[in-house]
Structure formats: C-alpha cells, structure tokens
Symmetry: C2
Subunit: 111 residues, 2 copies
C-alpha cells in the first residue's frame, strides 16, 4: 500500500513537517507536524491527522469545524524529512477564517 | 520595507521552516530552514539563503549549481512560525536533478 513509515526521518521529538497544498488550486494552505502514528491515521482515514505541539495531542483537522482535508496524494522529499500532502480542502484551512494560513505578507508587497 | 524579523517565532535552534513554491507553476519545490540572518540575506539579495542544519553553515541556494531562486513574495502563517517563499526557480530545485524535491510518492498512487 505505502512505503514503510520507518524509512522517513523524524526529528528528536518524533515529528516530521507536513506541507498541506490544495490539489485543485495549488495554494499552500498550512504547515503542521505529523508523527508516525498521525501519518498512519492520515493514510487510514484519507483525511489529515497531525500532532499538535502546543496541545501535545493528536489533532484531526476539521473534526470540530468540519473543515477537513481529503487526502489525494502524499509525497516525501529527497531527504525523507518533509512531507507534501495534497488535499481537497473543505471550507477554509486557517482557524482565523482565511483559506490559507499563509495570509500575512512579510516582504514589502501588497496584502 | 518589511516586518520586524523578531516578530517571527523561531525554534530552539533559532530556525523557522521555509516552504519554497514556484510562483509560475504553483509547484512546491522544497522545504528548508532559515534563521533570522538567512532571512535578512534573502530579503536583501532577492534570492534564497538558508541555514544548512547538516553542514551548520549559510547556504545560498544555487550558488554552485546556478539554480538560484528569485524571490517574488514571502508570507508567514497565522502562528508566525512558518514561511512561504514564492520564487521563480532557475533550472531545478532538487540536488538529485528533479524540478521539485518532493518527487517520491508515499501513498499508493503512481510515481
């Protein structure tokens, strides 16, 4: 079914960063962290599960808001220490109500 | 010109993950890490500078290969602990010769 999850490189806390991208629009929605168990849950459920570093608990994205992320494709990078999860986002990704969490411009452009 | 870089949240090693996306194609190219100094260099140079965790040194992407990333827009997320850098990629992003570092499929799809 899928690669051995032990082949990925997790950090000292057992975490690997997961970039979530909307497969329909190409927009990068958020960056969150998975551990092996949350990745296994993601693969089994077809929806994203993360490890919340602030709450120290598993987090099924959209469980309360309904804004789940339906997983379509998952890739890992050449160092096997980062994930790219392509999803169909239901509703919005950001808890602040924005479509993407990356809505603050850092450089000197507009918005 | 740009927001105070001290407002971003860096990890215990002073790093913040930076997602690099090709602004022309929408492809997510790589995930690498910046510290405040590499972000300042990125803003000043208009090309990406990272901190290499493996080599423990600053890393001007493409300095040897010529495959630089011309920075067009930079965003930070709602937690201010991740960056999205939109670039025009010259050549390929991956040191393995692929356009994107995320060329390994984890789930059970093709490729």
């Amino acid at each position: 079914m899928f690669k051995n999850l032990d082949q990925l490189k997790y950090d000292a806390n057992g975490l690997i960063p997961a970039i979530v991208q909307d497969i329909r629009t190409g927009a990068v929605l958020m960056l969150a962290y998975m551990n092996k168990e949350s990745l296994a849950r993601t693969l089994a459920a077809g929806e994203t599960w993360f490890w919340s570093r602030s709450r120290q608990e598993y987090w099924h994205k959209g469980a309360t808001s309904g804004n789940v992320q339906k997983v379509r494709e998952i890739y890992y990078d050449c160092d096997a220490d980062a994930l790219l999860v392509k999803v169909e986002q239901v509703g919005v990704a950001c808890h602040e109500g924005h479509y993407s969490c990356f809505h603050y411009r850092l450089d000197n452009g507009p918005a």
